[in-house]
């Protein structure tokens, strides 16, 4: 893949809702560069979640094509494996498994990877330390605050070191302060890990933390605004320092 090649691209994709009457996406094209931080905004029913599903290889377009590192998704063969290695998902409702501790929840995606049980546990521990939850390792989701739950979900999304993080309304269930902590964490991942972030949101505050805002209405892009220049990916080992129980401080 050349440096100029986008990490992710939607090429004239169309998607019709299952009822066959309403088009969720109409001839939509979008390129996302490696290391970009993109917010996708739009009213309910505009097609932004549908777009996120297509970009995340959870669904296939009726027409058009999704490309990752210049290759169509179907060239990757098994899309489950593709998602496992290349994409981390963060959801509005966290979707942690209720019977598993924070440490165990983070290990769930690693079952598809090559790590042994002890290595999985060690890596989950490191990820939870990264998101500032080293003091909550053995807590069940029911004993965590909503902000802590979302941070566990973020740690889980990072489990297989994906280059791309897709977040669907990640702050939708959080208060302002907790939402800011999560957004700080995203910013740190973006800057320190060189991760490419795509965040679907209703919130202007969330969108303003991104480098680029794409607005969608009726399945079409109506505005694509670059807020600042995308950073150059570093591919360096992430360095996120944090205090126990607090969101990350960036160094």
């Amino acid at each position: 893949m050349s440096e100029s090649e986008p990490l992710l691209a939607a090429l004239r994709v169309c998607k019709v809702y299952p009822d066959g009457k309403v088009a969720a996406l109409v001839d939509l094209s979008l390129e996302i560069a490696r290391g970009d931080y993109v917010a996708i905004m739009g009213p309910s029913g505009s097609g932004k979640s549908t777009l996120l599903n297509l970009l995340g290889a959870l669904d296939e377009p009726d027409r058009g094509e999704i490309r990752f590192e210049g290759k169509p998704l179907n060239a990757y063969g098994n899309l489950d494996e593709f998602r496992s290695r290349r994409i981390g998902f963060v959801f509005q409702s966290f979707h942690l498994l209720p019977t598993l501790t924070a440490l165990e929840n983070v290990q769930i995606p690693m079952f598809e990877g090559p790590l042994r049980a002890a290595q999985r546990a060690q890596k989950a521990l490191e990820l939870l330390q990264t998101v500032g939850l080293s003091h909550r390792l053995q807590h069940l989701p029911s004993r965590l605050s909503v902000g802590e739950r979302q941070r566990v979900a973020i740690a889980r999304a990072l489990a297989n070191d994906p280059p791309l993080l897709l977040a669907d309304e990640p702050t939708g269930n959080l208060d302002t302060r907790t939402a800011n902590d999560v957004l700080d964490l995203f910013a740190a991942l973006h800057r320190d890990r060189g991760m490419t972030l795509v965040v679907v949101t209703h919130s202007d505050e969330v969108a303003l933390r991104a480098e680029r805002v794409v607005r969608i209405r009726d399945g079409r892009i109506i505005e694509d605004t670059r807020l600042c220049t995308p950073r150059t990916p570093t591919h360096e080992i992430p360095i996120i320092a944090h205090a126990q129980g607090r969101g990350p401080d960036l160094v």
Partner: protein
């Protein structure tokens, strides 16, 4: 965390449901192991009663699958002993008899044997003496029956409204004899009004290099024996093991065990299917999350089948242990302790575990298939 740990944690989410499912599988497996254990114990004890005494061939009336209804002339015994290759033969009369026990009546097998025959060699006298020729109204009691009736040497039991004195209490290698009565053949013939008649004969052959060939030849010769008027006796001679497996009671026991086991296993599988379908339907969104995180269909299938396997293995262990305990307990119940050995063979236990695994596969496959084939987007939208 191991994958197994994850499965166990999934199952502990609904503890009551999981326990009830384990119980359902345990009942299915336990029923199967208990019934098949009893029926095979029944057969092996029967076979043992012949083989332990070296009986090669059993002779009974032809066309009677019910051993108790076989009726032959006692004189045939002498003809049997003259067939080349036959070492010895002895007659036996077997009846089911009612024994008065206070205000109730117990049924027991009663064996009519000629005194001083080798049959008595395998009875270990625990108390009293053996039967002697010409002993009227005297019996030996098997240790299980003596305990059930609470009788000791010198006591009297009542059969067919006649009193009989207990002269000895014995222990046999055979569970049926331990639960039964041994009496002189002529005394039982008199009591049952079957003078000169017997149920059948046990035939012991001389050692031979070609045992199978000798058995076949002697059986053919026995079946062609004729009475004094030259009429065939209509008798059937079979190798003892073959005879036992063809006996009506053994076939009935096996048949009932199979049918009941199949019904129990079917109910267990339906219970498992219900549990796993409910479990999967409750977790549609969660399965969508797992798929979104990159879990392959195969891993989802392994998760659901793994859970049903764990439930079944737990049910299998509980069921087999329960069956062993129930069988042991049945061997102490007066009404049946003369027919139940009280042990379960390892082969039957393994069959129990195999049944549990089949229940897991039958109950888990469809839910696993359903779970694996939901589209992640549809599963994630599920509320």
């Amino acid at each position: 965390m191991y994958f197994l740990t994850f499965l166990i944690k999934n199952l502990t989410r609904r503890k009551t449901r999981s326990l009830l499912t384990i119980l359902g599988v345990a009942v299915a497996v336990g029923t199967m192991v208990t019934l098949r254990g009893i029926s095979y114990g029944f057969e092996s004890s029967f076979v043992e009663s012949f083989q332990h005494r070296g009986t090669d061939i059993v002779v009974v009336a032809a066309g009677q699958a019910d051993q108790l209804r076989s009726d032959l002339d006692e004189k045939i015994c002498e003809q049997l002993q003259h067939i080349p290759g036959v070492k010895t033969a002895w007659p036996g009369l077997l009846e089911m008899i009612d024994i008065t026990r206070g205000t109730s009546v117990s049924s027991a097998l009663i064996h009519g044997w000629r005194p001083n025959t080798p049959l008595f060699d395998d009875l270990t006298l625990l108390d009293g003496r053996s039967l002697q020729k010409g002993d009227p109204h005297e019996v030996l009691l098997g240790t299980t029956l003596a305990s059930t009736l609470n009788k000791k040497v010198g006591d009297t039991i009542e059969m067919q409204q006649e009193p009989f004195r207990v002269v000895g209490i014995f222990r046999s290698f055979n569970v049926y004899e331990n639960g039964g009565v041994v009496i002189a053949l002529d005394e039982l013939q008199r009591l049952m009004d079957r003078k000169g008649r017997v149920t059948g004969f046990s035939v012991v052959l001389e050692p031979a290099e070609d045992r199978a060939g000798t058995v076949e030849r002697v059986c053919k010769e026995i079946e062609t024996l004729k009475d004094e008027q030259g009429r065939p006796y209509k008798i059937m001679a079979q190798e003892s093991k073959q005879y036992v497996s063809g006996t009506l009671y053994i076939q009935l026991a096996h048949g009932m065990a199979w049918i009941t086991s199949a019904i129990a296993a079917f109910i267990g599988a339906i219970s498992m299917l219900n549990t796993m379908i409910t479990s999967v339907l409750e977790r549609i969104k969660e399965i969508g999350i797992l798929r979104a995180m990159g879990w392959r269909k195969g891993r989802v299938v392994r998760m659901i089948l793994g859970e049903s396997m764990l439930l079944s293995i737990a049910g299998g262990v509980v069921g087999v242990l329960g069956a062993v305990l129930v069988t042991r307990w049945l061997a102490t119940v007066p009404e049946v302790n003369g027919f139940v050995r009280g042990d379960v063979s390892p082969v039957i236990m393994m069959q129990g575990f195999v049944t549990a695994l089949v229940v897991a596969l039958v109950g888990g496959t469809y839910p696993a298939y359903r779970a694996a084939h939901w589209l992640p987007t549809e599963a994630l939208r599920h509320e």
